[in-house]
């Protein structure tokens, strides 16, 4: 009999990484300006090795100026949402937990809107307040979801739904007071949208997301045990409160970053970890990196569809993930995979 080895994780992640690369090339290809796959690959390779001058300027603008930043944003958001979904599922011991269902996305969105209203010229205020909004919401839902001192899965989900609808009401109220702003843009953003380039450097956001995923990953052996029961994990030597704190802060940070740049994109955090579990099993040492890549693939693909399906108009990517995610979720539910 065998145990999971780092080599297996690397090879699975390698395959998922290759799929992600194919999705990126595909996504770079589709759009109003025609560009061949050969030119895309050439442009990417030249860009990577630093031969900027040998790239035709129009290709450079389309690939690096327009399409790649948006794809990178999709990858960032997909990885962040999907890892935070997997984390919340372990933290709350609930297979239906995900930042969207639990109202954490709405909390982060409220934080981001407050930042727009109060500190419109501070680039990091959106991320910061979105993070705070996510932290406060998950704490509130966690305490509302307890019944008789025990975390009750139904009560918890109801608390999440109630929190989400209450926070949406507050967001609506705030939006009406933000006069003179682009209301259609705001509505798109709330549905989940990757069209707006964030005010802060994408590279910093990537570092932040990687750090949070890394911190959560460092507890993955512990999460495996917590999934079989907190008491049992404690008896096997897991410092349960410490693990929960790391995962709680890490997952809130991921949700905060994702929502602050893309609004509330649903179903990614819920579905991707389940699909990965079905294919590769539920070991968190593999589940976390595989979910990150799977979420990146899913959001990059969904956004490509969202901006081409009704071209020249664009759909918000959140509408796309919901349109695909809801039927998939029902299918999994009927097969009792969830």
């Amino acid at each position: 009999m065998r145990a999971i080895k780092p080599g297996k994780i690397f090879s699975i992640c390698g395959v998922l990484g290759a799929i992600l690369f194919v999705v990126v090339v595909f996504s770079l290809k589709v759009g109003a300006y025609p560009i061949s796959v050969r030119d895309i690959v050439l442009t990417l390779v030249r860009g990577m090795v630093g031969h900027w001058n040998s790239i035709p300027s129009s290709d450079r603008l389309v690939v690096f100026g327009l399409r790649l930043p948006r794809i990178a944003l999709g990858i960032l958001v997909g990885a962040a949402l999907s890892v935070s979904g997997a984390s919340f599922q372990a933290l709350l011991r609930n297979p239906l937990a995900d930042p969207y269902v639990l109202g954490v996305s709405s909390g982060a969105a409220l934080g981001a809107i407050c930042a727009l209203a109060w500190f419109p010229h501070e680039p990091w205020a959106m991320q910061g307040l979105a993070f705070v909004g996510a932290l406060v919401t998950i704490a509130a839902v966690y305490f509302l979801g307890r019944r008789g001192g025990q975390l009750d899965s139904t009560t918890l989900l109801l608390a999440g739904i109630v929190a989400a609808s209450f926070l949406s009401a507050v967001i609506m109220f705030l939006m009406t007071t933000l006069s003179g702003r682009d209301l259609r843009g705001m509505a798109f953003w709330l549905m989940g949208d990757l069209a707006t380039t964030p005010a802060v450097q994408l590279g910093f956001l990537f570092l932040l997301v990687l750090a949070a995923i890394g911190a959560i990953y460092s507890t993955s052996s512990d999460l495996n045990l917590i999934l079989t029961g907190e008491q049992e994990a404690h008896h096997l030597g897991v410092n349960v409160p410490r693990v929960k704190l790391v995962v709680y802060v890490g997952a809130s940070l991921l949700t905060g970053v994702a929502v602050s740049v893309s609004g509330a994109i649903g179903y990614v955090g819920l579905l991707i970890p389940h699909v990965i579990r079905m294919i590769f099993g539920s070991d968190y040492r593999l589940l976390i990196p595989a979910s990150a890549l799977g979420g990146a693939i899913a959001v990059a693909l969904a956004d490509t569809l969202a901006r081409t399906i009704a071209a020249p108009t664009e759909l918000p990517v959140g509408a796309m993930t919901a349109a695909i995610g809801a039927p998939v979720f029902i299918y999994l539910l009927k097969r009792s995979m969830v």
């Binding site: 145990a3 297979p95 507890t219 052996s221 045990l225 999934l227 096997l236 030597g237 897991v238 539920s282």
Partner: protein, 292 residues
């Protein structure tokens, strides 16, 4: 096997027991549970005293709500005793770090609810967790230990099965296998024979007896099976309403009046084959006449 330093607190007890030293000492241990610090205790336990060596099984017996599981939790280091002294190889269980404790003490619980499907093999490998770094991948030694644990509980054939597809008896063996994979010195079991039929109960008790001998465990088992305890255990501790009624060899503790009073049921004690006491229901003449 871990040896205790000469100047450790239990050195005196060690000497008096000769070659096979006392591993677990419980001396005048008491515990009180109250809703708040100021309120009067709702439940008190103890004082309880007993001791056990390697390869010995201690049974904790008594009616429901007599404090059996509380005593087990105190032994596990989970609850701190109010007074008294517990030592495992000379050290109080509460003084170990969580991981050190999990390397020494394994606990087998009655129920565990699983969130996501897990194979038996993955479940048993979890028992190796306390023996490595925090983020870890199992090495060949871990795999060997887990395979060995499955073999010792007769669960090797189940390895690829999913945990939620097991029968009660199979599940009990797998849960036990994970505890064995921990390589503990002290094995604590809370009603392991619950949900098993008589064949399964005898098989499990015999297995626990053999494993305790072979692997040099000290086992403490909470159970309602008086006769199986008499058959397979070295020591029994009889609790009632948090009080320790008696502690000693089964043949010393199993006295008809004592058991009848503790369990509130007319019981008689016979001597079975091999000198082991056997508890039977007292034939009541009135009952017979009622049946007829």
């Amino acid at each position: 096997m871990q040896q205790v330093a000469g100047n450790s607190p239990s050195a005196s007890t060690l000497d008096s027991w000769g070659e096979n030293p006392v591993r677990l000492v419980v001396e005048q241990v008491s515990y009180a549970y109250s809703a708040s610090a100021a309120a009067a205790p709702k439940f008190t336990l103890g004082p309880v005293s007993f001791a056990a060596r390697q390869r010995e099984i201690v049974g904790i017996l008594g009616p429901n709500a007599s404090g059996k599981s509380t005593l087990l939790q105190i032994l596990s280091g989970q609850l701190k005793p109010l007074s008294g002294r517990i030592e495992l190889d000379g050290w109080p269980p509460g003084s170990f770090s969580l991981r050190d404790r999990a390397q020494r003490i394994a606990i087998v619980h009655q129920e565990s609810h699983l969130l996501f499907p897990l194979t038996v093999w993955e479940y048993v490998l979890q028992g190796r967790y306390p023996h490595g770094r925090r983020l870890r991948f199992e090495n060949d030694a871990d795999i060997l230990m887990a395979e060995n644990a499955l073999e010792q509980t007769g669960a090797t054939a189940l390895a690829e099965r999913s945990m939620d597809q097991l029968s009660g008896g199979e599940r009990q063996r797998v849960v036990l296998a994970r505890a064995l994979a921990q390589q503990p010195q002290l094995l604590l079991l809370d009603e392991p024979t619950r949900h098993l039929d008589i064949g399964g109960k005898v098989e499990l008790m015999r297995r626990l007896r053999n494993l305790t001998e072979q692997n040099r465990y000290t086992s403490v088992i909470v159970t309602h099976e008086l006769n199986l305890a008499a058959e397979f255990f070295n020591w029994v501790v009889l609790l009632q309403g948090g009080k320790c009624i008696a502690a000693g060899r089964p043949e010393e503790v199993y006295r008809a009046e004592l058991l009848a009073q503790t369990f509130g049921t007319p019981l008689e004690v016979e001597t079975g084959a091999g000198g082991r006491p056997r508890v039977v229901l007292r034939r009541a003449r009135e009952d017979d006449s009622l049946v007829k």
